[in-house]
Each structure stands twice: as C-alpha cells, then as structure tokens.
C-alpha cells in the first residue's frame, strides 16, 4: 500500500469502493470512520502483530484500493472479539465491516483453503463440523435423533439458491 501516499493517488484507486463496502450487509460502518485509531490500539490482534491494523485497513477502503483489500488476507486477521465495535466513538461497528469485506473478497474468489473445506462440509453434510462419537452419544441421552442427515436436502436448496455453491467453487 506504499502508493497510498499523499499527493500520489494511485491510478488503480476506486472512489466508489468505500460505498461498495458500505452497501454490503454489515459494511455501513466505514462511512462513519474518522480515522481516530481507537480500534487499532484496542485491537488484541494489532497488539500482537504489526501486519494488522484495523484503522489502516479502513483507510485503505476509503482510499479506494479495492484490489489490495479484496485480494489480501488482512480482514481475516480479525478475531471478531468486537472490542472495536464497543469502543469506536463513531459507532462505526468496524468488527462488522470486516465481515462485509470478507464477503466481498469471497465474491472475488478470495476464500482461504480452510474455509473452502468447511463450506464443502456444510454443503455435503448440512454441517460445518461433523459431530463426534461423543456428541452423538450425548444427543441420544437428550432424546435427539442420531440420524444427522436430516434436513440436508433443504440446506442444499438454500445454499444453491443463495449462490453459495458458486462462491466456494471460485478460486483466486
């Protein structure tokens, strides 16, 4: 993001990117940001690694550096602890914005391997995590069915209708 220097507005900056994020569900917070930096100094991830800086990520969005944001990996550093959401003086819900950016990134085919595995699991079994043997015993104890394939058809119908399948079959 070196090109984002004052006076040297990079040619690939897209002025509408901020609004693209804002108009994605959960992304409205970017419009409120005044770049005060409170999210960054409150963020437990930013305190452990210099790579991640939520304020700077929002700055990159505001500057319109669409490619850097959507093809990068930074929004996934967010732990969703929502400390920033609690503290942002503008009510900017920056932890929420991270979801919007991740979703836009997924549309561009930028989905990490681990997520693809989980997503495939979801499509095939109706679950992100397959229940363990212990869990099945517990289910039985509570009088729940041991047959965990119930509802897969419906789940798949929803996942197809919402173009989830398309999304996970795309790759960077």
């Amino acid at each position: 993001m070196d090109e984002a220097k004052v006076g040297a507005f990079p040619a690939r900056a897209r002025a509408d990117f901020m609004h693209e994020v804002a108009n994605t569900p959960r992304g409205r917070g970017v419009l409120l940001c005044i770049q005060c930096g409170r999210c960054t100094n409150s963020c437990p991830v930013a305190r452990t690694t210099d790579e991640y800086n939520p304020r700077k990520l929002v700055e990159t969005v505001i500057l319109g550096l669409r490619k850097e944001v959507l093809l990068g990996n930074l929004p996934r550093y967010c732990l969703s602890c929502f400390t920033c959401l609690d503290r942002c003086p503008q009510g900017g819900d920056i932890g929420e914005v991270m979801f919007a950016i991740r979703n836009l990134a997924a549309k561009e085919g930028n989905v990490p391997e681990g997520i693809i595995v989980q997503a495939k699991n979801l499509f095939e079994t109706g679950r992100v995590v397959t229940p363990t043997r212990m869990a099945l015993i517990q289910r039985e104890r509570y009088g729940l069915s041991k047959d965990i394939s119930i509802g897969i058809d419906e789940a798949q119908k929803i996942l197809k209708k919402t173009s989830f399948v398309e999304l996970i079959s795309k790759k960077v």
């Binding site: 005060c36 930096g37 100094n41 503290r87 003086p89 009510g91």
Partner: protein, 440 residues
Amino acid sequence: MEHKSVLIIGGGIAGIQASLDLANRGFQVYLVEKSPSIGGRMAQLDKTFPTMDCSMCILAPKMIECGHHPNVKLLTYSEVKEVKGSVGNFKVKVLKKPRFVDESKCTGCGICSEKCPIKVPNEFDMNLGMRKTIYMPFLQAVPRVATIDKDNCLLFQKGVCEICQKFCQAGAVDFDQQPEEITLNVGAIIVATGFDMFNPEQIPPFGYKRYKDVITAMELERLLCASGPTGGQLVRPSDGKMPKSIAFIQCVGSRDRREWINNAYCSSICCKYAVKDAVLIKEHDSHAMITIFYIDMRAFGRGFQEFVNRAKAEYGINFTRSNPGEITEDPETKRLTIWFEDNVTRTVKSLTFDLVVLCTALVPRKDSAELAKTLGIETDNYRFFKSPDLISRPVDTTVPGIFACGYCLGPKTGDIPDSVTQASAAAARIAEVLAEVTKQ
C-alpha cells in the same frame, strides 16, 4: 419603568459581562445565580489562553464591579421558578434559597468557617480539596458572604452545634432563615447558564474514579491554580508526588456518537485548553514528559496554531495522533499504561505515565431542559439553547425578548473572549428590542 429592567440568569463571565454592559447603559439589572457566588467556570481556571493571563486577575475586578454597581441587584443562591408575560413585560418569580446567614450583616471575616468542625469536599475545587460546612466557595467570592450547607450541618442533621453562631461577631448566622420568593417585573431576559463537564465514568475503559491518577482537565486546572487545593503544586492524587510523565487524552465524550453518549459535536475548546495546560505544566517542571493524544488538533483562532507549534518546538511537548481506547493501571506502582498507534511506524505501542488527564466534553447544564421549559424557549437535540436563526440572530432564543450568551448556546461559541462578545451582543440586542417596545 419596567422596560428599563432586565433579568440575567447565570453569573459566569457571560452573565457578568452582559450585566455590566446593561447596567452601564442605565438598565436595572437583576442577576440571578444558582450557586453562592458569581464567577462561573472562569473562576476555577488557572491561566487562560490566548494571553496566558491569570484567570482570576481578569475576572475578579468584573465580579467586584458587578457586586458594587448601583444598577445591579445580585440574587445569588437563587433560582428562577416561573416566567410569565412577553417582551417588554415579563413577570418572574425567583426563589432565594436560605443561606442561614444574613447577607446584610455578614462581613465575610471567615471566623465561622475557621471554627466549624465539619469538613466536606469542596465542589469549587472539583472535590480535590475540603471546605467547611459554613463556607465561602473561594477567596474572591462575590458576594463575600458565608453560606451554610444544610445537608452537612450538625445543627440541621443532629440538632447540636451552633459554633459558628457563637463566634460570629456580626450576629449574621440565622438558622431560622426561610426560603424567600421574589417577584420581578422585567422587560427582557438573558440566559447565561454555561456548561457542565462530561462525566468520564460513562466511558469505563478509561478507569476514571477507579484509578486515582486519571483526572479530568477541570481537576487539573484546580491542581495547577495557586489558590487551588495544593497551592499550585501539581501532584499525583495517589501518592502526592510530582508526576514526571503526563498524558492528555482529547475528545473524551466529544465527537462520540455512541447511543449512551450521543455527543456528535466537537466541544471546540479542549484542544486549546489541553495545549495551554501542557505548557503550564512545562513551566512548572521543564523536565516533565508530556504527550497529547488527539484525533485532530483543532487550534483555530488567532494565534492558536502558532501556540501549538511553539508547544512542540519550544516546550518539547509530544503530539500523537491516536485516540486511545483504554487505560490500565499497575496495581502496585499505580502507573498508567496507554496503548496507541505510533504516527511514524504505524504500529501499535504502549507507554506508561504517572498521570493521565482526560479532556472531557462540555455538555449542557443538567437542568437546562427544565429551565428551557420555565422560560418557554426551545433547546437543540443536545439540550443547548436554540437560536431561531444561527446566522443573523445568533444570540436570540426562540422567544422574543429572551436572549442567550456564552456556552449555554452550545459549542459554536467556546472560549472566554467569545462568551464576552456574545454577552455584549445580547446586551445590545436588549437595548434595541426594549427601545422598540417603548416606542410602540
């Protein structure tokens, strides 16, 4: 004759200036002040920007002039209870609370306070110092008359004591004093009730009240002031030692749109008073390490940007553009850690300080909505009084004949020079409006 009398509500610098302007033009002025003395916030300040003059040295002569002016009737320890009528003819009921001291007899000698056995925190010193139950809030109080705070008085609470009465040579202490209702007939009214400080307990991660060495800027003013609770010594509340490293955090409760705070506005003076206070600390102790954490440095107005530049270059004060989210305290040393974003490397770091000053927002007086209702005037969505036309009638309220000046009009105003300008403007508007009413 009533067209020549006016009511001023609030005896801060704005109310005092408006009173003097009108009194000097021959108006009969009734100045109603809620607390025992006029003076307002300016009386609590140490030095004032932009000139760095001693605040009290500028204010005290004006207070005394108000107290002695043949055309000013001071009604301190009083509140406006009812307002009826319209421009040219307002009927006002004022409640004069009992001070339990006869104003006409008290000489202000102070022997009563000296002898009174009960000490309570002094509001004027932001509760950092103590006062007696029979007291004058500060040395230069006008009127120079003692007041008994009934809630803490042994006689009122336990039925025994009367020590002050025994020692008062003037026979001024009067435990039987009753509330007095005064009816006034005035042609016009000025509201000048000023502001309250935002309570930073509303932002728990800053630890105000939990950590002793996290204080507000108003508390710092009292600690720096020569007539303050420490005689002008800057000390850490936790151990009474001089702090070597001090942080200022800007915009505490200002520009904060979170639902439970709801102050989207910039208070407009905190950047200026923070830089002033930082320079004052440096003048106390040139080795002090000072960092101001800010979002935007709003040093507008004549000479202020230059002042900020000097604070950096000459006084070596650090300015860091980062808005801290929390303060943590070392339970043993009581030192305070702040995390921030380094402006050069853009990485997150932490620094540890002896004292942290929260530059809290200026908010409307607690009772501003109630007073607005009594007067029939409107407030804005923050509860500051509203002008019907911000551009061409900035000191008018929504009721003809009622004007406002000073910080009670909200943050568009700000500092003392602005408050004085507005006070003179409001006084001039009254002269104009009442001349018109008289003509008709």
